[in-house]
Amino acid sequence: MSAERASADGPAEATVLEFEGVELSFDHKVLDGVNFRMGAGETRVILGAAGSGKSVLLKVAIGLVPVDSGRVALLGEDITGLEEKDLFAVRANVGVLFQEGGLFDSLTVGDNVAYPLENQQARGLAPAEEVLRRVTEALRFVELEHTLEQYPAELSGGMRRRVGIARAVVTEPPLVLYDSPTAGLDPITANLIMALIAKERDTKGAASLIVTHRYQDGQLMADFRYNSEQGELVRASGDPSKEPRTIFMVMRDGQIVFEGDKTALEKSADPYVRKFVRR
């Protein structure tokens, strides 16, 4: 099923997220034997029909939903059956953009973005005076510094999505999960958001797991790199030894029916998979 795995030579690259035979049912089966391994710095794009289990997969990845069977390892730690308070420590190193946003209505944009830092501060990680600087920096990254004092309800959908991204990346986590970052947005805003996600990946080297309905989002992640000198996205060199890998996964009814790079995806003959590929 898998087209390419970590090259056998040299020390195997660190794994940031690993699913092993993960099964989960609510009133029906939602995840059905999910297996994959995601390396540090890697980009993974998950495509799939509505209800195929993409959001649940992300929630399982950070232990928000316990699995029925199988094993999930997050940043090298087996989180299956871990207590909530122990999960907090692992989750502190993961950024998440939720499908519904998950911004706290009762807090200003600034406080929302500061929230993960303040939690780290409680753990003695980020010093207090650093918080405002990092919040401003994260908001500048998504070009929304001027909204610091506003409330999420006062922003447009696209702006809220960007604030969500700022909150997800403010701690500079080694792994960021994005659930449908472009859903329901106009093409211009959608492209802006994908550019931000690529920029985050290429400036911080974070591994990114992206759930999307738009094939072009995955295409952009695979084919473009953010060039900090030019300050814009440029076409990738195409040399797999220098570039972070982009792997596509296609989900159907809780199963991963395709896993592989863009070339393999475009070559796939599976009619379900082909529906997600635009040529």
């Binding site: 929630k59 316990p66 699995v67 207590e83 907090f88 989750r91 998440v96 946003g101 209505d105």
Partner: protein, 280 residues
């Protein structure tokens, strides 16, 4: 599914009750219904247990407690005062007619006092607060649930029970007994208004026997009830809020359920507590 903590979250946090739709043919609808009911009951007690345990555990969100006290206490004050006054007013009118037939209109003070302190004050205040705050809590937490704010909270290292449920529990338990005292007092004032202007009783004819009738038993009952009702209002509101699913429609459903269930429990519990105390 999952450990103890996990099972709370997957039922309150994520699990949707299949209700009567059986995916597995061998389970009868009745069994399915019972199973859902029992698991709901378990989840409620699990939430209650954790909410109470958190009172004695750091971190404490005192800001949230203060905010909730204001919303529940100060916010409910006008309506509680108004309702208290008029309930005293009407019981006095009704009672005086009955007492008149025995020529015992002078006894109206103690009767109104007992009725208010033991029963009407606590129950009416709790019902008002259930209508205002159990619904408010359920809809607030419900919208947080469907917009994934609860998930985000957990993802960002905050226990939603500690941050959302425990402050509401503390605030309601502190405010409801006080609101009840206010309602009791204003009820007496309402009764006095009728006694003075219509029944032509002097202030001391009304107030003195009314105060003399009170015993420790009445105080205990009059304050224990609002305290227990407070737990019901806060926990039922939080419970239905946290297990909301199905978008904005789900929020509406959770709100209605919270008010109905909390109100029913207030009636059931007051009967139960009264039964115990009447025999003392």
């Amino acid at each position: 599914m999952g450990g103890a903590y996990g099972s709370l979250y997957d039922s309150i946090g994520i699990h949707e009750y299949g209700g009567l739709e059986t995916a597995r043919g061998e389970i009868s609808p009745v069994n399915e219904f019972l199973r859902a009911w029992i698991s709901e009951w378990q989840d409620f007690w699990f939430l209650a247990g954790r909410a109470f345990a958190n009172i004695f555990r750091a971190p404490h969100y005192w800001d949230d407690v203060a905010l909730q006290m204001e919303a529940i206490g100060v916010g409910s004050l006008p309506i509680v005062m108004l309702t208290g006054f008029f309930s005293g007013f009407v019981i006095t009118m009704q009672m005086s007619r009955a007492l008149n037939t025995y020529g015992a209109v002078g006894q109206v003070g103690p009767i109104v006092m007992i009725t208010l302190v033991r029963e009407l004050g606590p129950v009416l205040t709790a019902l008002l607060v259930a209508g205002r705050n159990a619904s408010g809590i359920a809809s607030e937490l419900g919208s947080m649930k469907v917009s994934e704010q609860i998930d985000a909270m957990r993802a960002l290292g905050t226990d939603p029970i500690q941050k959302l449920v425990t402050p509401r529990l503390i605030a309601t338990c502190v405010m409801l007994p006080q609101l009840t005292v206010v309602a009791d007092f204003l009820g007496m004032v309402g009764g006095f208004a009728i006694s003075y202007f219509s029944l032509r009783l002097t202030p001391s004819q009304y107030w003195t026997p009314a105060y003399q009738i009170l015993e420790l038993n009445d105080f205990v009952q009059g304050l224990l009830k609002p305290f227990i009702f407070a737990m019901v209002v806060a926990l039922v509101g939080c419970f239905y809020g946290l297990k909301t699913s199905g978008g904005t429609q789900g929020v509406g459903r959770a709100t209605t359920q919270a008010v109905v269930v909390a109100s029913v429990w207030i009636f059931v519990l007051t009967a139960f507590i009264t039964r115990i105390f009447v025999n003392l």
